[in-house]
Amino acid sequence: MSEASLLIEAPPEGGQNRRGFVLHTLRHRPAAVIGATILVLVALGAILAQWIAPYPLHQQVGPVFAHPSWHHLLGLDDGGIDMVTLLMWGARVSLVVGFAATLVSMAIGGAVGVLAGYFGGWVDTVLMRITDYFLVLPDVPLMIVVAAIWGPSLFHIIIVIGILLWTSTARVIRAQVKSVRERVYVKRARALGAGHTRIVFTHVLPQVAPLLIANTVLTVAVAIFDETALSFLGLGDPSTTSLGKVIENAFQRAAISAGAWWAIVWPGVLVTLIILGCSLVGGALEDALNPRLRVAHLGARTFRLRPLVGRGQDAL
């Protein structure tokens, strides 16, 4: 390993403020910028699909599985529908499911983490054992079972993914809450007569919110991947066009044997890009916002040595 990779990271300019630290981190992590660029581009394409997609969705514009051409840069699918159009609309559904499911799992994970960490004792024990239980359940098989029982619909998919992805968030948040709870200012607030609700909402939540955000971006990637997998297995909503559904359609019509690789590869590449973008951005955010990673000698993701200096009130 070269010396260069063990550079001592300079403390952020502007010192104590968190925003400065985030910008600093992003600046020194081109990967995060690449990730953010990917996500912005995909999101723009998805949001503007109805105006900028080259053809209407569901409209047959050529022969089944037509090769890529000037008019159809990525070829046509098994219904003679333009792949570029499908990818834009597909990304829209995938992103919606990804973010909505993540919201569900953040709400659950955040609540469980804060309650367990803040109250401790038997509340902590019970909630953490439940978390452990969900943690050891194999996600995808369970999602398949639940999706099959509830029936295929976008809403069901969102809920199914949401209720299975919250466990790691709950654990991370709980640990951080446990530390915040013992801080002097929290004790002072309590001594002044603040109730649990006030302490949680005004003193604890703001401290763990950045962690929650970093976790969200990482969870979105997993949620989008899960949605794609479920749709590919035929458990998605048949009336919507998600990226997994596009792949499933092509697979059902034996696209690979027919030589129409573009009907499967492009949606696969797009899913990969979205997940990659989320991971890069989420990783950087986590690095920047997770105090535990910051105080370590070795940044968990950058593998750079950092000086052990206090960086404001939330450092230990």
């Binding site: 029936g151 044997s257 027919a258």
Partner: protein, 547 residues
Amino acid sequence: MSKKWLAALPLLVAALIFATTATGSGSSSKSGGTFKLGTASGIDSLNPYVAFNQDAYSAFEYIYPILVQYDAKLHYAPFFATSWKASNGGKTWTFKTRAHAKWSDGKPLTAADAAWTINTDVKYKNGATANVAGLVSHIKGAKAPNATTLVVNYDGRVNPSWVLGQFQQYAILPQHIWAQHLGKKGAGLKTFPNSAPIVGSGPFNLVRFKQNDIALFQRNDSYWGPKPKIDVFGLQQFSNDDAMITALKAHDLDAVESVPATTMKTLRKAGFVVQDVKGLDQTDFIINSNPKKKKHRELLNLKVKEAFDHAIDRKKIISVVYLGAAQLPSSIIPAPAGAGWHNPHLKTPTFDIALANKILDKLGYKKGPGGIRVANGKKMSYDVIIPTDVQSLPRTFQIIQADFAKIGVQLKEDALDSTAAFDKMAGSNYTYQGFDLAMWDWTALIDPDFMLSVVTCAQWGGWSDSAFCDKHYDKMYSQQQTAATPAKRRQIVWQMQAYLYQHRPYLWLANDDQVSAVSKNWAGFTNTAQGPFNELNISVLTSVHQK
């Protein structure tokens, strides 16, 4: 449950065009070898009282004695029976059967086995043997006065083509094996696994079987009829088409039973012989025709059904979904069923959105918000139940959905696996109140009896998925079974098709072709309307051989 594709099963039949079989291959043919066929369906059970899938019935054709078979022109030909005649005004049928035949365990195979099988099936037809009850209907009993004579007594005059049509699908079981498994009221017949190696008497012995995987058939050298040229026939099941086609291209398989339309071109290019023949499967758009239907009663209006029929772009469905490998349908009995059963006077409804709109306008169903018509105060917006295991349906639905929007009718997809789909359609206690529209497919047999039966009142809770129930139709159905001559029966069968054409429990969408592929290393392998591995006769696997 009724899956339509299974229709092909219990009764099976079908087929068609058969290339002339064994004769021509002269000195150049090599015998021996293993012939491996890939299927996307597979044998679901080796017990005839349980089996559903066509592959299972095709297997029975090769391992059990059957009285009659179809010849290349789909006429009845001798098989285990060498001749037959009716007497006593058509109430008694006498079959002469093969002499000196043996089961694969060496025990003699005689007419007594046939009589025992028939009598057992009649005795328990309301219980354990319900799966084959249709084949023995009207039979009072059977006797075997000697080893080569079988006498079957009917409760009245029965139509000759109908009798042979039923026996063509009827596997005779070894009495010395199955009589030990009757159990209580015959219940043991359904639970007997009949596992390989099976005691049978056909051109092949089934020596190994693993469900959802593989079935191995070995040539039966003591068979009384024409012997296969190959040593072993293997049927391998695949759960997805891509894997199956890849195995064929890698020569892990010698042939594939049904080829997805999208891969026909690449297989031809890769040097395989792709045989595309007109088939017996038809996809359909089901309109719940339950006369006692509570909701959306406008769907019982024949004018509404007619308007729907004109809003289906069948040519587009055939070009997009089947890439041209399908025919325009017109009747419940598809044209390739042969033997003149299909009524040729029925024409495929035209695709005419303007006409469909005119019919609905005339009924006074005005367009409301969102361009959706309102009938009897309710929006014309319906869920369409679609079984997920029929791969052609999602695309077909999208095409229909777009065109129905143009006539002010909203369709929403309700995709369910086939068991859940049928349960939802039949509803609790088989009242057929829970659905309006659905899509599925039926695979017809050569003899029209089965397809015509699925829309009778008696099939509620059985094969019925349209809840069609009409006394006049039911009367015609029993008349065709007992008509005096084949010509008279054909006349009634044609009338029944015209009646259904007008009452439209089904709107027929496409009559898809049967497409098989085989490696160039093999000769004598022919496709039929029922596929290469079929229950029409034993010609394909007894004539296939290495080049």
